[in-house]
Subunit: 442 residues, 2 copies
């Protein structure tokens, strides 16, 4: 006999057993439901694309991390590293048929050959939603309302959605005479929470030639805080005279007022002039979302407005706004917060297989229960009852529906709540409805 192959996954990849996959599916289901409730429609694109389509669209880093190879037809191909670049290609290709505005969501895995040191994986699920073909503030408000609905639908109440507008920093840089330096300044500002104001000022001096005075103004922008009105007034003063800057402030004023009127107000919504988002293609509002009980894991839902999604593939201008839920990061957070259910089964009911010649009856009973919407597993072998209940326990079933010789004789069954052992007897003919009601209770 040949030698065994060691069963193992590649470095940076992982299996999802049921206890992880059940909550992951439930997150995806909730995301789908909320996205759909706003009129976002699903799309899918191939995992593999021409490398030409993917390269040079994210950053040098994403190019380096891409899984890229020649296929059997000698094509230069790559596995997608995000869902935005494929969406840009998709939009350019199909926008004529689709029409605008076009609202899509896309839930799918992406691959990055990242350094795996920080508990990051090389395969992870992204959940993106975008509205393209409109520059209306209505779409920006909607993005933050979707995030609020999504988190509330997941049972999370303690979160803060941070919004900012890229034009505000541009306006301030214009005013202080540093307009060419926004990338370097953004990179420095991004570290504010980690390294503090002094080190950020140093970096701004080194990399963008900012004087101490200039640095002070920029830092005072990033440190604005308080009630929305107060912050907006401060921002107004800091950008006054710059058209771009004032547009950014007016936009945030609209978004926060509209959101508040639709039911998303402080402290769940916060104007946060310090957030910037790393990606260069954002041109207007940007958004990040933090869990109040676990801010250190970083933003779990981020995005922003862009002027033109698909400029590399089409001359048609496609402005829009979108955001992405970091599903696997959120899953890890919910696990850490201890709010994930621990079951390994999606069916609450186990029917033990007692009487070897009664399999037909067990199967019939299971089907009858399923027809009421209940999930029911029939144990496949007439093993010892202790073994079957141990199995039920291990998998996390809620109920056992038990029929032995005496129950069959009397036309009844025992409903056992597995956590407590508490048992109730029901007559199948006369108590069916009451029994189903009990089994449908949590």
């Amino acid at each position: 006999m040949s030698e065994l192959i060691v069963p193992r996954t590649l470095k940076g990849f992982r299996d999802y057993p049921p206890e992880l996959m059940l909550p992951r599916e439930s997150l995806m289901e909730t995301a789908r439901r909320v996205y759909r409730s706003y009129g976002f429609a699903p799309i899918d694109t191939p995992a593999l694309e021409y490398a030409e389509i993917l390269c040079g669209k994210g950053s040098d880093e994403t190019d380096k991390q891409m899984y890229r190879f020649r296929d059997a037809g000698d094509r230069d191909v790559g596995m997608r590293f995000d869902l935005t670049v494929p969406f840009a290609r998709f939009a350019a290709q199909h926008v004529g048929d689709l029409g605008t505005p076009f609202k899509r969501y896309h839930i799918a895995p992406v691959w990055r050959g990242e350094n795996t040191q920080r508990g990051r994986y090389r395969e992870f699920m992204q959940c993106d939603f975008d509205t393209i073909g409109t520059q209306s503030v209505a779409s920006d408000v909607e993005i933050v309302l979707v995030i609020q609905d999504l988190l509330q639908a997941l049972g999370i109440e303690r979160f803060t959605i941070h919004i900012n507008d890229r034009r505000i920093l541009s306006g301030v840089l214009e005013r202080v005479g540093l307009e060419g330096q926004s990338t370097a300044i953004l990179r420095a500002l991004d570290k504010l929470n980690k390294v503090g104001a002094a080190r950020v000022a140093e970096e701004m001096a080194q990399c963008a030639g900012a004087s101490a005075e200039q640095a002070d103004v920029i830092l005072s922008l990033a440190q604005c805080q308080g009630a929305h009105d107060v912050v907006l007034d401060q921002l107004q003063r800091l950008t006054s005279g710059s058209t771009r800057g004032e547009e950014g402030v007016a936009w945030l004023r609209d978004v926060s007022a509209l959101a508040e009127s639709a039911g998303l107000a402080p402290p769940q919504l916060r104007i946060a002039p310090s957030i910037a988002r790393g990606l260069d293609y954002y041109t207007g509002m940007v958004v990040e979302t933090f869990l109040d009980d676990l801010p250190e894991i970083g933003s779990i839902c981020s995005g922003g407005r862009y002027d033109n999604l698909a400029g590399l593939y089409t001359k048609q201008q496609l402005p829009g706004i979108g955001a992405s839920l970091g599903l696997d990061r959120l899953l890890a957070a919910l696990e850490e917060l201890g709010v994930l259910p621990r079951a390994q089964t999606a069916a609450p009911i186990l029917i033990p297989f007692f009487e070897p010649h009664r399999l037909a009856d067990y199967l019939r009973l299971a089907r009858r229960l399923r027809s009421t919407g209940l999930g029911v597993e029939v144990f496949p072998e007439p093993k010892k009852i202790g073994q079957q209940l141990k199995y039920a326990d291990r998998r996390g079933f809620t109920w056992a529906v038990i029929q032995g010789a005496s129950e069959f004789e009397r036309g009844v069954c025992q409903i056992k709540r597995l956590a407590t052992g508490e048992t109730q007897e029901f007559a199948l003919a006369s108590d069916w409805a009451a029994m189903v009601r009990l089994l449908q209770s949590p």
Copy 2:
């Protein structure tokens, strides 16, 4: 400015726009719900595996079709070409933690660099479900019950589930003295429907050295038909004296009796001694499923029992049974049968944006409707109403909920059924419940 990159997908790959992705998601959702209702739990495994894990597990063909390359760490890796081989690796690796019986489903894309001539794609979704760690007939019955529930849940009533048992042919070959030739015989038999009995007999003579008499017996096996009892009695005679053959017949007798007692009877279930399934690893019952109105597309849900899933990776014997729903094939069939809805939106309601200064009111109304479970899109810009209704039409919305200046003044809104133009007015304060009931109707 640099030149535009032509937006296109790789040969054999395709995009799923909303009108295809909405029914595809709904198929997946239904599959998940039905699998779960039987206690199958979801798992996921990486798209990429060590090539060593994947190679030589399917067939020469799958090896040749595999997307295989060296990653940045110089590992020899491949993209999975099915979900069975990764499941075998997964089971070998985790069975100690998981325990048996273990029931899993896995819905995920797979990749094969196939010849794309026959309308096949190089990326497609598989929906597998398996029970491992048991040799009980209960699991075999369950597989066909799941298939029945699944198709009925999809609104399909006209289908036939064909079952057979591999041991029956083995028994017959044993009896006629051709026991070493089962692979060649299977290959010939697989063509029975296409080329007819005479040509199959020829091939059996050529490739397996079967005499005309031997071929006759084998063909009489494949051509058995009629009521279950009649077929089973014929099979009994043809295998009589071969232990393996008789085991196979007894197994089918049990499965069909148990299935019938649980509500799956002819003509939806059929004992079909001619079906074989190409794959070598099946050792017991095999199953194929055909749509009565479109049998030519082939089996849409197929599977079978195997003695040992993961023998290449572990010494632990893992017998089981599983099947796979051909999701994209079924989707194509439903499209051809004209039973797919044609909408491009998952939300039934559009709120046109009429009054430029009323955006807050539209957003509030949308949220209030969403809180009842309805899907509502707000058009993002105050464009001409004709343009907005054209958009609604194109996307397939069911309702428009309309508020213009006069409606705001009077505290009412107009509910327009878009297909007919029929319009009803509701007072928001007093008629809310009636309005929601109307919007919830189909």
